[in-house]
Symmetry: C2
Subunit: 243 residues, 2 copies
C-alpha cells in the first residue's frame, strides 16, 4: 500500500469508481500523477443506480475508459442492498458520537466483503491488462466504521496479491494505492478541489431521490466536510440551503 508514490515506469492503473467524491478524487489524483486510468464501476444491487450514472459521468469527464460490471450478491446482508433495512441517521443528533464510533459499531450499510470483491476484480483486470497500480478512495472516516477500508486490510490484501497471482509470483508487484487513507472528508474535498474534481457530478447520498436526502450518514459527512473545507458544495441537498 502506498499513499502518494507512483509505480516505476508502468503508467497503467485500474481505479475503483463509485460515483462518490472520494473515488472521484482518487481518480483525479491518479491522473495528476500521470497514470493512464481504466475505471471499474460496479452495479452490485445497491439501493439506487444514481451513483452508477454519476460514476459514468465522472469517468467521461476525466476522459477515462471504464468497465461497468454487474455484481450479484443475492445473500444481501446490508442496508445498501436491502431496502427493508433502514438507513442510519443516528449521528445527526449526537455530534460526539462520530469520533467515538468504534469497530464493533459497524454500520448497517456495511456490505459483507464488498471492497474485497471490488479489489479482486481490480486485481484481475490489472493482471490482464498489465497494470501495476490499483487506486481506491478509502479513507480514515470510512475505516472508523468499515473494516474493509482500514490500512491493515490493504496490507493484508497485498499479501494475497503476492501469493495468489501470476504477477506476484513473477515479482511484478501490483500496488494498491490509497492516497486518501489518512485524510478527513474536509481534506479530501480540499484535495479534490485543487485537482479540479467535478464535485457537481458526484453523489454521496445512500438514498436515491432526485436530490440527496440530507439525512443519511453519508449526506451528513459530506455536508460537514464541505463546511470544514470552507468550500461550497455544488450539489444542492434537500432541506439544506445551499449558501
Amino acid at each position: 500500500m502506498k499513499n502518494n508514490q507512483r509505480g516505476s515506469g508502468n503508467r497503467k492503473a485500474v481505479v475503483l469508481l463509485s460515483g462518490g467524491l472520494d473515488s472521484a478524487t482518487a481518480l483525479y489524483y491518479a491522473k495528476k500523477k500521470g497514470y493512464n486510468c481504466l475505471c471499474l464501476i460496479f452495479d452490485y444491487g445497491q439501493r439506487h443506480t444514481r451513483e452508477i450514472v454519476c460514476a459514468r459521468k465522472i469517468a467521461d469527464a476525466a476522459q477515462c475508459p471504464y468497465y461497468l460490471l454487474p455484481i450479484c450478491m443475492p445473500w444481501q446482508g446490508s442496508a445498501l442492498l436491502n431496502k427493508k433495512i433502514s438507513l442510519p441517521s443516528v449521528f445527526h443528533d449526537q455530534p460526539g458520537a462520530i469520533t467515538a464510533r468504534r469497530l464493533n459499531d459497524i454500520p448497517v450499510t456495511y456490505v459483507p466483503a464488498r471492497n474485497i470483491i471490488f479489489l479482486s476484480f481490480a486485481l484481475s483486470c490489472a493482471e490482464a491488462i498489465g497494470a501495476r497500480s490499483i487506486f481506491i478512495g478509502a479513507h480514515a472516516q470510512d475505516y472508523s466504521g468499515y473494516p474493509d477500508c482500514r490500512p491493515e486490510f490493504y496490507r493484508a490484501f497485498e499479501g494475497v496479491i503476492a501469493a495468489g497471482t501470476k504477477a506476484g509470483t513473477e515479482h511484478k508487484k501490483i500496488t494498491v494505492h490509497t492516497p486518501l487513507i489518512d485524510k478527513t472528508k474536509a481534506g479530501i474535498i480540499r484535495l479534490g478541489s485543487s485537482l479540479g474534481v467535478p464535485f457537481e457530478l458526484t453523489w454521496s447520498c445512500y438514498a436515491g431521490g432526485k436530490r440527496p436526502c440530507g439525512k443519511c450518514d453519508s449526506c451528513y459527512f459530506r455536508a460537514k466536510g464541505f463546511e470544514e473545507a470552507g468550500i461550497k458544495d455544488p450539489v444542492i441537498t434537500a432541506g439544506i440551503s445551499n449558501r
Copy 2:
C-alpha cells in the same frame, strides 16, 4: 486454513463448486463432516457451459442449495476465457514434464485472480448467512501451476478475512478449508469414491464437446488420476477406450 478440522458449533458452510471432480469431492467431504452446505457456482465466461450444468447436477445430487453467479471479466487474459488462445496439451508427450512444472510456467489456462474473486464472493456470502466455513477443492497438482491454488495464498487470504470483514473484527473467524490441498489427483479420486461422489456427473475437460476431448491438460490429469487410483472413470472420453 484447515485441512481436515471442522468449525466448532457452526454447521453452515459455503462451498465453491465448479463441476469438476475436485470441488465435488470437497462438497461431499464437507457434507460428510456434518456441514449444511450452500454452493456457489460461477458463470465467468468460461469456454463452455458444460461444467456449469454439471455443477448444478452435483449440487442437486448432494441435495444442497446453490447460487449461480454471473461474473463479468471483459479483460479476459486466459485461454479459458478466450477461444483464440489454444488450450495446452504439451504434457502428453513429455511424461517427465509434469513434476518439473514450475511456478514460472503458469499455464495459459490461468485466469487472473479467479480464485481470489471466487473466494471473495464466498466470504461475502459466508458473512451474510452467518457461516464460519468456506470449502474449496484446490490441491497440490493445481498449485504446481496456479498461484491462487497454493497453500500460502490461502494463508494470505485468511489475513484478509481477519482484517477486512465484520466477522474478522468481531473475532468470529471464518476459515477457508482446503481438505484436498496435499492430495494427488489419484488420492482425491480415492477419497471421492469413498464419499460416494457421483463422478459420472463431473466434467474436467477444458473444451466443451459432447465428450471430454482426451487431449487437454485437464483430461490428461483426470485419466492419469483414475488410472493410478485403480478406479474406472464413468465418464467416457473421446478417443480413449473405457475399459
